[in-house]
């Protein structure tokens, strides 16, 4: 089960957090801080998995928690999961999530996540429900988001004005796009065929 999805920047400022199990507000903040503490001290060239460690386990209340994360430019995307989830499955789920955000916001940047935090959550809602993976096909997720946007546009848009702000910001070509969105190709370890 996915216990939490956390997105924070290189300074540890949380931008998106979604917990699939209830924790009191202050515990949530502690989990975010502890997670940042654990992942931020890791080099970018080490593996993307991290055993929760005693502190995180005691915060969450279990013994088998793991952090699976990706670091893109200024942002960390962290999924906190129990031992029933596949590491590589979640890692590619994060990739699908980020690629979907990138498609939705055309070169997603940290500001998009702040101004359109609602939309980010709607995307996540299409992918994960009750801590379980719901959909992994990006085209399918995008179709659903577009359907929803159409309805929104037909009304007086909630996010109309911030939307304009974002496009103005984008035109300035800020250096904070989530770069390297493409997965680096894994070094070949030969065919697995026997």
């Amino acid at each position: 089960m996915i216990k939490a999805v956390l997105v924070f920047n290189n300074h540890g400022k949380p931008r998106v957090s979604k917990f699939y199990q209830h924790f009191p507000e202050d515990t949530q903040q502690q989990i975010i801080r502890e997670t940042f503490h654990l992942v931020s001290k890791r080099d970018d060239n080490v593996c993307n998995f991290l055993e929760g460690g005693t502190r995180l386990n005691s915060l969450i209340g279990g013994s088998d928690y793991r952090l699976i994360y990706r670091h893109y430019a200024t942002l960390y995307f962290v999924f906190c999961v129990d031992s029933s989830e596949s590491e590589l499955g979640i890692l590619d789920l994060i990739q699908v999530f980020v690629e979907t955000l990138d498609k939705c916001f055309e070169n997603v940047c940290e500001l998009d996540l702040i101004f359109h935090v609602d939309k980010v959550h709607y995307i996540l809602q299409e992918m994960v429900m009750g801590g379980m993976v719901l959909e992994t096909n990006m085209t399918e997720i995008l179709t659903r988001i577009e359907e929803q946007s159409k309805i929104e546009k037909s009304e007086a848009g909630i996010a109309g004005a911030p939307g304009r702000a974002i496009s103005a910001v984008k035109e300035m070509n800020l250096p904070q796009k989530i770069k390297d969105i493409k997965l680096p190709d894994l070094p070949s370890i030969g065919s697995l065929k026997f």
Binding site: H11, K13, P14, S17, Y20, H22, E25, Q28, Q29, R42, N45, V46, C47, N48, F49, E51, T74, S86, E87, L88, G89, L91, D92, V96, E110, L111, I114, V117, D118, H121, Y122, M129, G130, M132, L134, E135, T136, N137, T139, R144, E147, Q148, I151, E155, I158, A159, G160, A161, P162, A165, P175, L183, D185, L186, P187, I189, S191, L192, K193, F194
Partner: protein, 466 residues
């Protein structure tokens, strides 16, 4: 840095800051700055104290604004966006919870959605305000608008508590027959949640689970697998009869019988494959007859996993775990050990980490495979990655026997002298002190004798010292 970038961006568009939200704020007697401007201010502050001042001032304004009798839905939604921003930063925004509930109740589409979203982020199943939402959820689940139904199901999954299940269950159950797959999928996941919270509450509708598992849409079937995973984990013997169906589903998936939509980087439905493998692992555990039904498809999964995609390795790894969980088949175990070797020798850290975990499982059922990889594993102790080193230690404890104890202990001691990281030393010391780790105790004792016999200055005392 984020704040610099924001600052530059906003300096360049001064008109926006003052006028950004005029459409929304117009007519409001309380002046509220635009959201971008507020964010800009917060992001540009470096001290936590200053940030607190700005956010708290903003929250006071939002509070006043929400209390106005003539506030529009758009204004409420705008307020909620601000509250979400402050909430994720850890500020108390509980004064706004009721507004979120109201918007979910009374809002029209997009605003209703914003209200529901805020509710799912602010509230939890035992929050008192959730009671106020039950009627709304019931109404929306029955709406003819698909978006309403989706919203209500999503809210159900995160907000309904055990006592409310009976009031919602019939509506959710009805949605299992909805013509849209997405609705059926979400309804199944609601049932999954109910089952996790209170298995008794859904005991009488087990036939619905079965129908969902047999759904013509693979996505709905996949969602139903989550429920079956739990059911089988709890009482594996009761569900043996579905083994054959799951095996044939997996067979169809690997032979690309699913629509192309289910492919990810040319791998057929990898997440579904992983889930099926997990469920089969539970079914075949200690069941020789069942395991024999499963064996052929596992070989097929391995044979067909040829690409070098990340996710392919995810499927292969899961397959190795399944092979080691069910009643053993010598040929398959050999394949599994061979694949594990490829993980271990990979240059990618993620794969090496999984290789170590996989080998830990493999040698529990087939200890003879430990020797093939012994040197590769020992080398992993030198890995720059802490996660890999920690896992390697765990594996080495399990690999230890009277034959290789000297090699492994020598390496451990050598490693402990070099390693500066306290945590790993702690791991070794802890593990050697843990009573249940009889293998290591045995190993240490054996080595201890060896050392004494040879009059080597016994370094093992150091272990105690750490």
């Amino acid at each position: 840095m984020m704040s610099d970038a924001v600052e530059k961006a906003f300096a360049a568009i001064p008109g926006l800051i003052s006028g950004g939200l005029t459409t929304i704020t117009a007519g409001s007697p309380i002046h509220v700055q635009g959201f971008p401007s507020f964010v800009h201010k917060v992001c540009s502050l470096t001290s936590k104290y200053e940030e607190e001042q700005v956010v708290k001032r903003e929250l006071t304004l939002v509070k006043q604004r929400l209390a106005q009798p003539n506030i529009t839905q758009a204004q409420q939604a705008d307020c909620l966006v601000r509250l979400l921003f402050a909430h994720v930063l850890g500020y108390d925004v509980s004064f706004g919870y009721i507004s979120a509930v109201k918007l979910a109740q009374q809002g029209t589409l997009a605003y209703k959605r914003m209200g529901y979203l805020a509710c799912t982020l602010f509230l939890h199943e035992n929050h008192e305000l959730v009671l106020l939402l039950i009627n709304t959820i019931q109404k929306d689940i029955n709406s003819s608008n698909i978006m309403d139904v989706c919203m209500a199901l999503t809210a159900t999954c995160s907000l309904v508590n055990t006592e409310m299940i009976p009031a919602i269950l019939p509506f959710v159950q009805e949605k299992l027959k909805h013509q849209k797959e997405i609705i059926r999928k979400k309804a199944v996941l609601c049932l999954f949640k109910f089952h996790r919270m209170a298995p008794n509450s859904v005991q009488h509708i087990h036939h619905s689970f079965k129908e969902a598992l047999c759904d013509k849409d693979p996505g709905v079937m996949w969602s139903a697998l989550h429920i079956y995973h739990d059911l089988i984990k709890h009482s594996p013997s009761e569900y043996q009869d579905i083994t054959q169906s799951l095996v044939s589903i997996l067979q169809q998936v690997v032979s690309r019988k699913l629509p192309a939509d289910y492919e990810y980087h040319h791998v057929p439905a990898p997440w579904l494959q992983i889930k099926l493998l997990q469920v089969l692992a539970l079914l075949g555990k200690d069941q020789q007859k069942i395991s024999r039904v499963i064996h052929p498809v596992l070989a097929e999964v391995l044979q067909r996993s040829e690409s070098n995609q990340n996710i392919t390795f995810g499927v292969v790894y899961e397959c190795i775990l399944t092979i080691t969980s069910i009643s053993p088949d010598t040929r398959l175990l050999e394949y599994a050990a061979k694949c594990t070797g490829k993980f271990l020798r990979s240059k990618a850290n993620n794969l090496r980490y999984l290789g170590i975990k996989a080998l830990t499982k493999v040698i529990q059922v087939a200890p003879q495979h430990a020797l093939d990889h012994q040197m590769t594993v020992i080398e992993c102790l030198e890995d720059p990655d802490h996660t890999i080193r920690a896992k390697t230690l765990e594996l080495l404890y399990r690999m230890c026997n009277s034959v290789n104890v000297k090699v492994i202990c020598d390496k451990l001691l050598e490693y402990m002298e070099k390693d500066t990281e306290k945590s790993i030393k702690g791991d070794i010391a802890n593990a050697s002190l843990r009573g249940e780790d009889s293998v290591l105790l045995f190993a240490v004792q054996t080595y201890w004798e060896l050392l004494q016999r040879k009059d080597v200055p016994n370094k093992l005392i150091q272990i105690g010292a750490w």
